[in-house]
Amino acid sequence: MNRSKIFRIITYVLGPLAVISIVRLWTDQDALTSSNTVGTALRLTVPILLAGMAGLWAERCGVLNIGIEGMMILGTWFGAWGAWQFGPWVGLLFAVLGGMLGGFIHAIATVRFNIDQIISGVVINLLAFFGVRYLSDLVFVGQPGGGVSQSPPQTSAIPRFDLPILSGGQIGGWKSPDVLAWFETRKWFILGDIGGIGRGLTSNLSWATVIAVAIVPISAWVLWRTRIGLRLRASGESPVAAESLGVMVNRLRYGGLLVSGGLAGLAGGTLSIVASSYYRQGQTAGRGFIGLATMIFGNWRPSGVLGGAMLFGYAEGIKLVASDSIAALFLFIAAVSLIFFVVAIIRRLRVRSLFALGIFILSTIAYQTVSTVPESLTQSLPYVVTLIVLATANQRLRPPAMAGVPFRPGEPH
């Protein structure tokens, strides 16, 4: 590892950690980095992350997927049904298959029949919403606890575990020490935060979460390191060039959309099987669209999508478990934007410095008044955070060049 890399790690990991630690100690809001908050954030991150990856797979092969929300709905329903009938693992499988059904319909419509990709996506969302309602009417109504908008509760769940040594998991019969918890309870500067965050990420973990997170590096590997991945990306960047080299663009688009649908379905499945134990109408609550936002935020890259999803998950998590800490979070944002402001001034970036200053002022005001502002405003926190990050993001966005453009093979160019 060279020096600039070490320097970067320090600024991007330890820097924010130090700031949040100071804010935590100053405001006495331990919930900011408690294992409870972080654990909740992780659980909330998973469906958004999967939805974002679904969007990434679709757009990388050249098709916009507005229908992720609908495919997630299919995932929640089929997942819940499968889990109710055959147990949670089969349930997740059914969730994937349900989402793939949506992906397949999208592929037929857009690739085969060249229907506008946005329209097809919107139709899939509507179709899924009313379709599962109809299915519930057929299957769930009359069952104990079931109805048109709800499935009967599942009896078993995906197993959870603690990581040994770090978070006191079992090795054989031996209960290992809980190192991170020890640090967390000490509440020291930075070390206390590392303990809380680490423990949140490593204790009471569902295997489904592990799978979801593993999909990020796997996707990156497939898309950037394998033949099929390169061809898939080429289909999204320049289908004409790809075709002229013998790449079967439309076949790859079918494949990409099946993966996209499957991931969206899995996202739905985690909602109805892991985060809860039954299907409920409206369970997806717009997370498909938030997933698309994380895809843009993540610059169409898996690691970026992970970052965006974590941001949403954290903002939502803190709102859920520790709404008192929201004020402290605004203080954190104020501190970070102040740093941005100073950096921008030094680098003479006028627009960005003004922007950072504006955010600093707004978040300071929010910090002062947040206890009195209505609930609905604090609810919008995750979106505010995304907007801020999108606007200040340093990198140039590079979406796949031909995503959204229909492609008819064999047409002269």
């Binding site: 394998t226 080429a234 080299l245």
Partner: protein, 513 residues
């Protein structure tokens, strides 16, 4: 049709030296005969040039050889074996590679990814990138090309993109290389480099089919030249038996129009004044730095330079597409802070660099393309006046000799040069005070080139000021009243075209003084 003193010497080729043999190829598109009974023999390890007017059918013939189009009749034989190519991949398997008139590259993928796409070296489906890199590097050095393989295509200039296209084809093991107008976008130095590379390839046994409108180039590089007119072969000649004029005559079937000398005077009033113009770009050296010049009424100022030295950004800044510092005055009015639309209304017009990216809606009919930028004049209230729009399009078609059936066909069916004529025709018509013309005759045949030059001269004589950006030195020298050389974002020299020669210009353009 046979021309008296240029008898086809195909008989010189002994049969085992013939690599490609096309016999009686015909291809009809709805309403257009693109190829009519074309026959062609190409000798092994030679450079064989195809020349002909825009729309003569050169690209179509090559696309048939490459499997992109199927011929209606006729046969293809490669190395003496009859073949039928249903798709490019079959042609690739037979050792044929094609570099298209319009580049086919994925901008966001890296050089390496573009080159190996479709034929990736893999182990169990996993890319062997180091292996691929080594092979591409070896290939590149063997033809004397230096390229960074890990940057995205979007960061390369046209010359480099061209090299990527050639490497892409060679990587597929092509022994027969089709280059459709490879030099249209290159400046003289780059052309020379390309030719060195091509010669090296030929010495290794590669056969090259080469399309170009630049007849001097054709005469220097090729071993044999086939002239195509209106879809049929006119003759195949050897370059030392013909000269430029002769070739042009064979292509057009008549004498070339001769440009008249300038008879009008340059006006006294300044129409375009640019002072201290800089284009700012973050994280990079500013692409245009402190550029100042003036163009008087009825004057043509040429900007010569190797592509990528800031000409593109300069035009963007003049039009307001890019943000810049400094002042721009059109017709005495400061437009520095005006929007693009307001600048156009102030009398600016633009013939864009890249007809596909900036000039045309490829899938829209010609008349809609011709309407762009004229919406205000060709409408009745908020509604478009269809009849007037179509009539305006027909006028462009006849005035600029765009070869097409009618104004209703989509733009992509036009040959490259005819697309260019449509764009030039449309934008020349809007010009009132100042015309910014970027490569106005790129990809246009000699006949039509002379016609477009004539149109530009006529506009100039009627008082229009023209900023001519071109890599074609003949064009710059022939049209301009004053030449500015742009190098690395700055104007480095001001030359008088009467005393400048292509050699002198070339020196200035590469930064050597």
């Amino acid at each position: 049709m046979q021309l008296g003193d240029t008898k086809p010497n195909q008989d010189l080729l002994t049969s085992d030296a013939v690599v490609v043999e096309l016999t009686n190829i015909s291809k009809v598109f709805p309403g257009v005969v693109a190829n009519r009974d074309v026959s062609l023999k190409v000798g092994r390890a030679t450079i064989h040039a195809l020349v002909g007017e825009n729309g003569a059918g050169k690209s179509t013939l090559m696309k048939i050889l490459y499997g992109l189009h199927q011929p209606d009749s006729g046969t293809i034989a490669i190395n003496g074996v009859a073949r039928q190519f249903k798709s490019p991949s079959e042609a690739i398997d037979a050792g044929i590679g094609m570099v298209h008139q319009h580049f086919m590259l994925a901008d966001n993928l890296t050089v390496l990814e573009n080159i190996i796409l479709g034929l990736e070296p893999t182990k169990f489906g996993v890319l062997s990138l180091s292996d691929a890199r080594a092979r591409v590097r070896e290939l590149a050095t063997s033809i004397g090309v230096a390229l960074d393989l890990d940057v995205p295509i979007s960061e390369l200039g046209v010359g480099q993109r061209q090299r990527v296209e050639i490497l892409k084809v060679l990587f597929r093991g092509a022994e027969i290389l089709i280059l459709d107008e490879p030099t249209a976008v290159l400046v003289p130095q780059e052309v020379d480099e390309l030719f060195v590379n091509l010669r090296r390839l030929v010495s290794k046994g590669t056969t090259i089919l080469f399309i170009s409108h630049k007849l001097d180039e054709v005469l220097t590089i090729s071993d044999r030249i086939t002239v195509i007119r209106q879809g049929s072969t006119v003759a195949t000649v050897s370059p030392n038996t013909v000269d430029r004029l002769k070739l042009a005559e064979m292509m057009v079937g008549s004498d070339l129009p001769k440009p008249g000398e300038r008879t009008t005077k340059i006006g006294a009033t300044t129409r375009l004044a640019v002072r201290g113009l800089s284009v700012l770009e973050k994280g990079r050296k500013n692409p245009v730095r402190n550029v100042s010049f003036q163009i008087a009424e009825g004057e043509i100022v040429g900007i010569a330079g190797v592509e990528g030295n800031g000409q593109f950004e300069l035009c963007g800044a003049l039009l307001g597409l890019l943000s810049s510092e400094g002042t721009v005055e059109v017709g005495g009015k400061d437009v520095s802070n005006l929007s693009i639309r307001e600048r156009l209304n102030a009398g600016l017009a633009y013939i864009p660099f890249d007809r596909h990216r900036e000039g045309l809606m490829l899938t829209a009919p010609l008349w809609e393309n011709a309407l762009l930028g004229h919406e205000a004049t060709l409408s009745r209230g908020p509604m478009i006046d269809f009849t007037a729009a179509k009539k305006a399009c027909r006028e462009i078609i006849s005035r600029f000799g765009v070869l097409t059936q009618n104004e209703l066909v989509p733009a992509f069916v036009l040959s490259g040069g005819n697309q260019q004529k449509l764009v030039v025709g449309r934008n020349l018509a809007t010009a009132r005070t100042v015309l910014i013309a970027a490569h106005p005759t790129r990809g246009i045949d000699v006949g039509a080139q002379a016609a477009i030059w004539e149109e530009i001269r006529r506009s100039r004589d009627s008082g229009m000021s023209v900023l001519l950006v071109s890599a074609d030195l003949e064009e710059v020298l022939g049209l301009s009243d004053k030449i500015l050389v742009m190098f690395d974002g700055e104007i480095t020299a001001e030359l008088d075209p009467k005393s400048a020669s292509p050699q002198i210009l070339g020196k200035y353009m590469t930064g050597a003084r």
